[in-house]
Structures are given as C-alpha cells and as structure tokens.
C-alpha cells in the first residue's frame, strides 16, 4: 500500500536542488563559481560538434579512419578530445550491411568528450530497456527503418569503455570538404539511432 499523502509530501525537485546548494555553499563545501564552470563546459564547450569533427576527418582522411578504428582513444586525443567519460573509446563503423547502436542499460554512460551530455531519449527507460531486446523495432519507432538484410550490433556500455559510432558517409557528398561535412553529422547518428543525411 502506498500512502496517498506521500506523493504530496515530496519536495518539488527544483526547490530540493536549491535547498541542497544553499546548505553546501553555507558550509563552504561547494563554490558556486566552480559549479558554474562545470555547467558552462557542458553547455557550450563539450558537445556533439566534437564528435562531428572526428567523423568528418575519418571520412576524408583514410589514415585517420584506420587509426580511429584501431585505437579510438588515441585518435580522438589527436583532436584534443579526452577527459571524464572518455577514458577508453572504441569506435564501431557502420556500413551498408552493418548497423551499430549504443545503449547503457544500467545508467546512461555516454562518451562525454565527443558528444557532451546525453539527450533525453538516451536516458529514457524505453530506450534503455528495449534497445537490448528489440533494437530494430526501437530504431523504427525513433524514425530509422533499416532494411531487413542489415545486421544490427548493439553495444551495452556496462564498463568504463565508451562506444562511438562512425556513421556511413552519405551518397552525394564526395565533393564536400572536411569542414563542409561537419555540419551534416548529427548526435543521433553518432549513437546509432539515425543515419547522416546528405
């Protein structure tokens, strides 16, 4: 039995957050300026643009693509991307016959240095529970309908390894330079729930 009053007694989460911050600041345990810096880093500096630059480079530089697939951590560090949640990066490549997609069923582990913080769909219980059971159906619900012959590889990020999908370069982009390819690459494609559109 649940007490119907219990739900009403829950402290609204924004107020709860304010209360904890006030307590910790009063006690000198956190510096609001340090908090502001963390927030600014993930709001403005570290996001999917990093990953898009990696992808565009891999599409235009075959030697970089080889290094990226052989040792993702070292190859993304060449572009300066490393840090929290990027201790060991494994890059998996999509091809016309193979589609990779990444999930974390236990929490929401995600390659922060390349993609920033995860979007809400990645943290959704439906995504976390069903991507390891019926990925083709889940991808279709999210707008990606794969041909029946395409093999699906799902990667559940249960250790400190972080997976990153190298999407297929879209047809009709052969004439585009690396910097023109960057804006085409979406966050969703680098997790494997979308393809890059030309």
């Amino acid at each position: 039995m649940t007490d119907p009053r219990a739900a009403d007694d829950r402290v609204p989460i924004a107020l709860r957050t304010q209360a904890l911050e006030q307590l910790l600041v009063e006690r000198g345990l956190v510096d609001p300026a340090v908090m502001d810096n963390f927030i600014k880093m993930y709001e403005t500096d570290v996001g999917p643009l990093n990953g898009a630059k990696v992808v565009a480079k891999a599409w235009t530089d075959p030697e970089y693509r080889s290094r990226l697939l052989a040792d993702g951590t070292a190859a993304v560090a060449e572009l300066g991307y490393k840090g929290s949640q990027g201790e060991h990066i494994v890059v998996v490549e999509n091809t016309p016959s193979l589609h990779n997609v990444v999930v974390c069923t236990l929490c929401s582990c995600y390659p922060w240095p390349l993609l920033g913080l995860p979007p809400s769909w990645y943290k959704d219980p439906a995504y976390r529970s069903r991507m390891v059971r019926e990925p083709r159906t889940v991808l279709a619900e999210m707008g990606l309908r794969l041909a029946d012959g395409v093999e699906i590889q799902v990667w559940d990020s249960s250790s400190e390894v972080r997976y990153f999908v190298l999407p297929e370069r879209p047809a009709g982009t052969a004439g585009l330079a690396e910097e023109d390819l960057v804006p085409l690459v979406t966050r969703d494609a680098m997790v494997g729930v979308a393809q890059v559109e030309p």
Binding site: A19, R136, S159
Partner: protein, 226 residues
C-alpha cells in the same frame, strides 16, 4: 560510510518491459532544459569529491533509489537524490536536513538538524580513473564460450540481470579496470580484465527473439568458462 545494500533493481532496465514506445529524438535538445537540472548536475559531480567517494559509489547511490526518486524527478533529479545519498553516507549532511531547508525556503519555520561530524571513507584509489595494469594474463580468450554468472549481488554490480546465467562468446579483450562491485564499497580495486561478450538474443529471450547481436562489457569475475 559505505552503504553495502543491494540495489533497488529499478536501474537494471535491460530487457524489461512496460516502458512504452521509444521517444522520437528532438532536434538540438539542450543539455539542461531547466536551470535546476544544471545545478543538480554540478552538485552531483562535486558530491563525489565532497563525500570522499567515487563514481562507482555514485552509481550505487543511484541504484539504491526507490522508483519515485529514480523516475519521477527526471534524470537530474535522480542525480540529486544520488548525491544526497553519498553526502548522508559520509555524514556531510544529516538525514532530514534538505527537507527542513526546503520547508524553510518555502516560508516554514522548521528546526534544521545540525551538521554532523564528517565520516568519509578511509580509502584512496591507486591511480586516477578506472583503467589499471594487471600482471595476470587474461583468463578468457577471443572466441571462447563463457557464461555470465548468476548471483545476488550484496551491493553494487555492473552485471545486468538480463545476461545473468546466459552463454555468450568473448569477442574482444578490453583494458583491465577496477571492479565496481568492491570499489563502490571501498573494499579494494580488484583490478581485472574486462571482455566484450556477444550474446544471441534467442539465448537471452527465447525462440522468436528479434535477430541482432548483443555486445556487453563484462568483468572477469562475472564470467565462468562454459
């Protein structure tokens, strides 16, 4: 100090049902939709330092939450509740303190518990991060058939229930890492090899399962030779 209690189980979502359709991704979704989410995120990161704990302890602090704290306040609400767990475990804040301050911020006149004497764990990692060098060679090799153990974890674990007891094939060696099951509870790093193990969906879910390959990273202690 460390709370060695089993997870509530709510976090172990792999293969479970009843969660509805997958959401359609929004374009250009910002990292934080409301200002409090950003504050909760930053405090949660700092809570590990403040409480003298680590990322595995934080993950366990999340997985100890009940359904309401885990689901109803959203992702960063979950992080805030997890941070509070760590801060209470290390006696940085006393139980009831946050609720009392929230009441006072809303115009109440509630006596707040006084700040307790901190009791941070007497535990230091041997290095930054989770990856370690180990002397022993890997026990399992690529192509080998292995079974994920079935056990009731006394506290934290990164072995999800949906693979427990099932047979898979080692497809990739991964770097050795600290074992979350003991590191989360300040009982030692137990650094060991990690393997990517591939499972057939019919092995996990029975005949008629959707066709794909499921890859998951499992620590050596979670595996036995099949």
């Amino acid at each position: 100090m460390s709370d060695v209690t089993p997870a509530s189980g709510i976090h172990d979502m792999g293969g479970t049902s009843g969660w509805g359709r997958a959401p359609v991704p929004e374009r250009d979704e910002p990292p934080f939709k409301q200002p409090w989410e950003a504050r909760a995120f930053a405090m949660a990161l700092l809570s590990m330092r403040m409480s003298g704990t680590n990322l595995d302890a934080f993950r366990h602090a999340l997985s100890r939450l009940g359904r309401a704290d885990y689901i109803d306040d959203g992702y960063y609400g979950r992080w805030l509740h997890g941070a509070e767990n760590l801060l209470r475990d290390s006696s940085i804040i006393a139980p009831g303190t946050v609720e009392a301050r929230a009441a006072n911020l809303s115009g109440g006149l509630v006596e707040e518990p006084s700040a307790p004497e901190p009791a941070r764990p007497d535990y230091k990692p041997t290095a930054a991060g989770s990856i370690r060098t180990v002397e022993d060679p890997p026990r399992f090799s690529v192509g080998q058939r292995v079974r994920a153990k079935r056990f009731e974890p006394p506290g934290h674990t990164r072995l999800p229930r949906y693979v427990m007891g099932h047979l898979g094939t080692v497809v990739g060696p991964r770097p050795a890492q600290v074992l979350p099951d003991t590191h989360a509870h300040f009982q030692g790093e137990n650094a060991q090899w990690v393997y990517t193990v591939r499972f057939d969906p019919e092995e996990l879910y029975g005949p008629g399962a959707e066709r794909f390959a499921l890859n998951i990273d499992l620590y050596e202690d979670y595996l036995e030779a099949a």
